[in-house]
């Protein structure tokens, strides 16, 4: 059941990332840092102020939104590979700060996050809460992308020049979209902090970027259900070896090998994702036709 809670949290995270990268075409990899900001803000507020969990989680979302605007306002001037790497620098820089400050718990991590629900009903209750938030996230994103706002997002992603020529402000749309996605990631972080009651910088590093990116891409980028399938599959399959009861020194890398191996297999066998259509024209630009012949570099 604990794995199910984890899957629900990652459905929220992957779906929000899909909104940014799949629908918005904003190729950043910094999503885990907004997850981290939500988690640390919620955890620290819960420890030091005793605020209720929903308020702490909301505060986490607000901090994530504020940070996303900071990144978007500066880094969204560039695109493609440049944006990928700028976002990586932003993520690693903030993680380094979290690692160095004492009040965040430093490299040892943040402990003593209070448990808001105790007893035997704890995990089922968290599963219900996280499941409900995951369902709400998927529904919200589906609602956003199917309405007029969604058509504007698609137009901006596919033909930014024409979109701008029509008098629309692409930068504003990007910032709003980015803020929504990162705010939802902050909520996922808050839920994560209250469920696991322990946070460390390693939980939000580059591997986490690759993990959620993979969930989105392998599930089907720019599809409503793709991140749901991707999160469920990639978190559930490596758990299959837990019954072997291996020592942690072997279990962790073995699960990592299964995870990364699966990603590579899917990347070659189903490049457009499990839910995505197989037609090349339907692929998001970041996955589709792109010149890598080395020209003009």
């Amino acid at each position: 059941m604990s794995v199910a809670v984890m899957i629900a949290i990652f459905i929220i995270l992957a779906s929000s990332y899909n909104l940014v990268i799949g629908y918005g075409g904003l190729a950043t990899v910094a999503h885990p840092i907004f997850f981290a900001l939500g988690a640390y803000t919620a955890g620290l507020l819960a420890i030091h102020t005793g605020l209720s969990a929903p308020l702490c989680i909301a505060a986490g979302a607000i901090v994530a939104i504020a940070a996303s605007i900071l990144l978007a306002a500066s880094a969204l001037r560039v695109s493609g590979d440049y944006l990928l790497i700028a976002s990586l620098g932003f993520q690693l820089g903030l993680l380094q700060m979290i690692r160095n400050f004492e009040w965040t718990g430093g490299p040892g991590g943040l402990t003593d996050i209070p448990s808001t629900i105790t007893g035997a009903a704890r995990t089922p209750a968290y599963l219900a809460i996280c499941g409900a938030v995951a369902a709400a996230t998927v529904a919200l994103i589906a609602w956003i992308v199917r309405g007029p706002y969604g058509r504007a997002i698609t137009a901006m992603r596919d033909e930014e020049l024409a979109f701008t020529a029509l008098g629309r402000n692409a930068m504003n749309l990007k910032i709003v979209l980015f803020a929504i996605g990162c705010g939802i990631a902050g909520i996922a972080g808050g839920l994560y902090a209250f469920y696991y009651q322990y946070l460390s910088p390693e939980q939000f590093d580059v591997l986490q970027s690759a993990t959620i990116l993979t969930m989105v891409v392998l599930g089907g980028m720019g599809t409503t259900w793709g991140p749901v399938v991707g999160a469920a599959l990639l978190l559930a399959i490596p758990q299959a070896i837990t019954f072997l009861d291996l020592p942690p020194a072997i279990m962790a890398p073995a699960q990592g090998i299964i995870f990364t191996g699966l990603v590579l297999v899917f990347l070659f066998l189903r490049p457009s994702g499990l839910i995505g259509t197989s037609g090349r024209g339907a692929m998001p630009a970041a996955l589709g036709v792109h010149d890598h012949s080395g020209e003009g570099t």
């Binding site: 990268i21 190729a27 990899v29 500066s74 880094a75 001037r77 560039v78 493609g80 590979d81 440049y82 944006l83 990928l84 790497i85 700028a86 990586l88 620098g89 932003f90 690693l92 820089g93 380094q96 700060m97 160095n100 580059v206 591997l207 690759a210 990116l213 993979t214 891409v217 020194a249 072997i250 962790a252 890398p253 073995a254 990592g256 090998i257 990364t260 191996g261 990603v263 590579l264 990347l267 070659f268 490049p271 090349r280 692929m283 998001p284 630009a285 970041a286 996955l287 589709g288 036709v289 792109h290 010149d291 890598h292 012949s293 080395g294 020209e295 003009g296 570099t297």
Partner: protein, 302 residues
Amino acid sequence: MTDPIVLLQILWTGAVTASSYVLLTVAFSLTQKVTGLWNFAQAGTMGVAFYAMYFLLNDMGQPLFIALPAAAILAGASGIATEVWGLDVLRARSSGNLTFFIFTLILAELIIYILTLLFGTEPQTLFPSILSPVHIIGGIAIGDWDLWAVGISVSALVALQLFLRVSNDGQFLIAVADNARLAELYGISARRAYCVTAAIAGVLITLAMYLFGARSGITPNSPMELILTAVIGTLLGGMGRVFMGGLASLILALIQSYSVLVIGSRWQNLLIYGFLFIAIVVFPRGIHLPRRRVRLPVAQPG
């Protein structure tokens, strides 16, 4: 006011530390120039190179003159295998930048997990002792190892420069980097150029990991941090300008070394990530020095 001797000592130590970073950056930048890709799988190649040397030196008891070339061959082979069975397949499918990013990053992680399973997470150095004889020259401590490290680094760069300028294969790499399709029209194989690049990168990475691993403890995760230094150097040097990338990483290492005078050592990495972010946002095409204008002779009337 800081003692000038201290400043010179930091300069020298920083330059020695940079010798491995420069090689890693040049390997990354050359690959980026020729293939047009940000090849994060080179972090995996770094791990392969270091642990191959470590295994041969410490577990098999082989001398360095066997361990070093063997590791270079293995690293080059892993780079070529990635090229042939991975990147080439994605190119044939006209995959986008995210697919390449995911593939190279996940491949690096896969290799890191395998190395973690085989060698654990304890930091390892190539040799039991990291000390070497030191001479005091003009008040500055210069170790034998320091001279060896700088010598290897400079020799490798000179060899690469000669290869690119003099050899046919080197010229082909530049032609493919400029325009792969046009180069192929002239009978130059882009695939061969990519494989040659992977082999060269393997050798440079092995030398860098030898220099780095002889003086610092390395864990399977260390290459992920090292590759970021290479990325930043490549960006600041300007994409396509391989040796400028090396120079940029030297300057970065020196800035990091001097930063201990004003900030704590634990904040040094933050400095690097800050540079990465600023480099992309402010100098997405690298830092270009102003070019000196060439004065053309003016025709004299009459």
